[in-house]
Symmetry: C2
Subunit: 212 residues, 2 copies
């Protein structure tokens, strides 16, 4: 199948949404946990988390201030500067998926979707107990994306929790052992099977692909 | 295992790089194809492609102007405004991985890594023939990220190619059928197994999780 820009414009909103949300490939399935100044906790699924750099350890997420993605998350981040990113595991995909419904701000998705809040000392934002890998972040800056009115929210990593069985001495993390999942589009979920790894690529060590 | 911000600062560059590059979850494995004004083609693997919006169809990628990720890609994008994003399939992960070596600008990674250039009429940037899903983009804007000197490069989708077997009438794309892969960290590759999908989440249709 081939679509050009004009085809995409004329194809209808739903089909365009489905195609364009999937063509970038697999997306990470993460739950973002926040809390309002009135102490109402919030958790919502996001597929737009992106690694920005490791030193300092910075992570980005694209938020849509209005529209399909719940806005409470971003309001809470602005209120207290804290949020958590928690991997969606295979066992609680359905619970995680339904956090994307538009609940009103007085409702905690933890309660409705049967996910468990977990707190670290001195960190207000809730982690998701069911998640194997969890990150606590402090909001650093928000960059408006003028092309479509979305926002790149950047946070610095302050806490990282990883199960012992999923990390080795060098710091390599095995996402299959952590039961981490991926998303395509808005509603298809994938499990991960680790198939291979390669050393850091150096020009002097390139395999002889032509004669393999 | 638990790490706080101070632990990450003191853990050493390599271990921090490995941990922080993996904690966001699975990342899409994509090859970005470009061409210089001297008609030297370039292809390089990126794990930082992110969906920004479907109407207009916008895709972002984080680039590092200097450092580990080859800079030729971004220079070429600025020169002619075009680039392609091509999914890394299971059969050519190794070829794709080694495009990340720091070849000089006169070298085409297509040649060295044994990947095949493919061209569409009226579009200068090369696609990767081996990829099942491929996107042609026009550069729209570049947003500097001051926190760490990276750049969010935004492009509008002009061409999309998807194998018939991987897309249905509603526009849902099956990444398992497309043989699309994912990356964790800088060098571990995963295959994808589709396990479930759910309808768009409405408040009135939330499952009764407490009594399931």
């Amino acid at each position: 199948m081939y679509f050009n820009k004009k085809d995409l414009e004329e194809i209808g909103n739903v089909k365009r949404l489905n195609i364009v949300n999937s063509i970038t490939g697999i997306k990470p399935a993460n739950l973002i946990g926040t809390i309002s100044k009135d102490k109402i906790s919030n958790v919502a699924i996001f597929s737009s988390v992106v690694h920005l750099g490791s030193n300092p350890a910075l992570i980005g997420v694209i938020v849509r201030p209005t529209g399909e993605i719940p806005r409470n998350t971003y309001e809470n981040i602005l209120e207290n500067g804290q949020y958590t990113i928690n991997h969606v595991g295979e066992e609680f995909i359905e619970n995680s998926h339904y956090t994307s419904a538009k609940f009103d701000a007085s409702t905690s998705e933890f309660e409705i979707c049967n996910l468990t809040e977990e707190y670290l000392t001195d960190f207000e934002a809730p982690f998701v107990k069911e998640s194997a890998i969890k990150i606590g972040l402090r909001h650093l800056e928000s960059i408006p994306i003028e092309s479509n009115g979305t926002i790149l929210v950047i946070g610095e990593v302050e806490h990282v929790i990883i199960p012992d069985k999923a990390i080795n001495k060098k710091g390599y993390i095995d996402l299959e052992k952590a039961n981490t999942t991926g998303i395509s589009g808005l509603n298809s979920y994938y499990k991960l099977e680790k198939i291979t790894s390669f050393p850091y690529a150096r020009v002097s060590e390139i395999p002889d692909f032509k004669n393999e």
